[in-house]
Symmetry: C3
Subunit: 215 residues, 3 copies
């Protein structure tokens, strides 16, 4: 069994569980939409939803040698993703909604912000340096979506889209660290970092902010 | 070094090693056939065979923080896979056998059943909950094949085939848990779960049982 | 936190850090070239550079349950890769250099030799058997490049190129083990294994040595 992280306040723990749970559901929804766009079967949609939802946090915890995993300690969220993966496609079909690649960007933006902030905070608490912690925030935020894209055989967004994506997760992580270093309570730092990253990502989608390219 | 799992009976340990070993060889054979179908070079075939054979069990043990790995504790199976990966292609060519994508389904079915059952039992023994244990069984059963498919640049079967595949592994895992909960000896529960999953998977191939799709 | 490996001499530790660091920069350079060839955005190039540079060593350390990771213990190399990933593309554009798939083979050969040798030595020190240690050397040497190729949606080189690649890493690992078994000092064994593997790989590129194929 992995050791638990350093003890932290119950309020922070509870807040992190709730924020990670919302992020899990948001990423699961983006996975369901990705699977639906590719016309995967019902089990394929569920597999993608699971991996997108839990992949990033699990890799972070393996890298930090930290446990138990979020989905082991909070099994309710696993059931919630299972329900979402089964009900989601049924709902989409009943409503004759044709999911597009664009639709999954919105829940993905919510997950990105939440996981970047919570992932950074979790790593900071385990004693990692600021740079390693913000990189762990990026891992938590982008790895699930990366698996999602590889599984449906696309070059992952995070490396190919010319969109502001991983860099927003990185910035959100540094914001969480910076606020904490200024003495802000961690729970506030995480909430602010998550909201700022989420809003930046949504603005990047809406206004089509682009990274510099090759020409 | 990772800690060992809880102590279990020597008979069960031996039975699990034998069952996992057969599963390893079956998945290695499916990897060799996949590599041959794609005309990979001899080293490529060996790499795919290794990852298909040992990928699922290794990821399970990393997630359960359990060790030593199957292939570290039972090095004979590594040599066996190495021999199979070298002799297999030579044999296929000598016999002028053209491997098809269909051929690799049969050894894959054997590996799926064995790994779903043994993976679930290993997780249950390490103290995981029934849901987490059956998910670990699914991970053990499908992850190796998923790497195999990603490496040859296909959308993995498990998410795209409309075949009963991951869901059979999931059902096999619940059967292992259920039999154990009813007081059946673990070694019997694993054997029954493995055979039932294997037979279900073979029936699914033969009768082309399909999952509900999008139309 | 993972336990540290067995104590080894300070000279060997320092030599390994320097050799791994050079390997990290070489693989990062190959990742930058791969990303540039595919016209990825600046963040995508950085993500590929990071994963190519640190992927193999990190997987090895997760599998060996060994810590802290190279990039956690030696954070300077993370900053170096970050700088390389930002300056590299700017330099390529300023010089009007069109990177080709062939160009990334040269830094990749340097990384392959260094990681095969150092990866094997690290595994031997942690108490793994010769076969497991050489396989860990192969994992260290090829996994980063494998992620790089999967991310840009190619069938990885290591399985498809018909080039002498993974097999050279395997041979380099056995050489490190063999020299050590003959009583050669580890630091010399690693240096010789790395140089031999590197030279073999470069000769394989230059003279286009091929593996036996299917026809």
């Amino acid at each position: 069994m992995r050791g638990h992280g350093s003890p932290v306040s119950d309020t922070l723990t509870l807040a992190l569980v709730i924020l990670e749970g919302i992020g899990v559901l948001a990423f699961a929804a983006s996975g369901v939409l990705a699977g639906a766009t590719k016309r995967l079967d019902v089990v394929g949609v569920a597999v993608i939803a699971f991996l997108t939802a839990f992949g990033g946090g699990t890799l972070r915890d393996v890298l930090l040698d930290r446990g138990p995993f979020f989905w082991v300690a909070n099994e309710g969220w696993v059931w919630a993703v299972l329900v979402l993966a089964i009900v989601g496609p049924v709902f989409l079909r009943a409503q004759h909604i044709e999911p597009t690649a664009k639709a999954m960007q919105w829940p993905d933006a919510v997950g990105l912000g939440l996981f970047a902030a919570s992932g950074t905070q979790v790593a900071l608490e385990s004693g990692a340096s600021p740079l390693v912690s913000t990189l762990m925030g990026v891992v938590t935020a982008v790895f699930g979506g990366m698996i999602r894209d590889i599984l449906v055989n696309d070059i992952p967004w995070v490396v190919s889209s010319y969109q502001l994506y991983a860099v927003i997760a990185f910035a959100g992580g540094w914001l969480v660290w910076g606020l904490g270093a200024l003495g802000v309570a961690p729970v506030v730092a995480v909430a602010v970092g998550a909201v700022v990253a989420m809003v930046l990502r949504i603005l990047a989608i809406v206004f089509n902010w682009r990274l510099p390219g090759w020409r």
